[in-house]
Symmetry: C2
Subunit: 125 residues, 2 copies
């Protein structure tokens, strides 16, 4: 058995828009932006909804929004989502980038928010 | 004074992918999909996070994901977001479609979830 839940939305933007988009979403949601000291490609905008993270990410691609699913078993969850019709795109460090059946990118990541995961994750046999 | 909060993520897909994408996200999140009897362009996938709605929408455009901000004063919120750097795209019925500074579409809608709005919305002077 493993578990998973939706954990985050990420606004992916080219480098030249990054700071402006961080300022915009921080102001729009009324949350302070924090840059990630370990990885300058990410800024956290905090939790606009309890248990749901919002981030801005620099990407070498046109602007888009993607979602993250957190799980206590990345391989099992990726396999489950493949059976439902998603495709693997690439593995990056500990997470998988996938595409939904219409081509939208999303990521399957390890548990990011243990308290919310415990409270809200679904069980899969 | 008015208030607003992030209320939903919507997966926008062309008509030919709609049913397949509804089935996929319903299975991925473990939530039953409900079609909207008033508008066949929408299917609700429920609340993957308490206070946060997930929907699939048919659009005449390439697949993408967009976010909805709910507010008790659409005009005031659209004006506030414009000052932060968003642009108006079009008004549809009671809501506004806008673009963030990188071009990502989002919508400013009337309050959809009064209990979560009361609990989590930010105040703007």
């Amino acid at each position: 058995m493993h578990r998973s839940r939706l954990t985050a939305a990420l606004v992916d933007v080219p480098e030249e828009s990054f700071q402006e988009v961080v300022r915009f979403w921080s102001g729009a949601l009324g949350l302070e932006a924090e840059s990630d000291d370990d990885d300058p490609n990410y800024a956290s905008i905090g939790e606009p909804v309890a248990g749901f993270q919002f981030m801005v990410q620099q990407v070498d691609a046109p602007a888009r929004i993607h979602l993250d699913i957190e799980t206590d078993d990345v391989d099992a969850e990726v396999g489950r989502l493949e059976e439902l019709g998603a495709e693997r795109v690439e593995k990056i460090e500990s997470w998988w980038v996938m595409r939904d059946p219409a081509g939208n990118l999303f990521c399957v990541v390890r548990v990011q928010d243990p308290a919310a995961f415990e409270r809200e994750a679904r069980n899969w046999e």
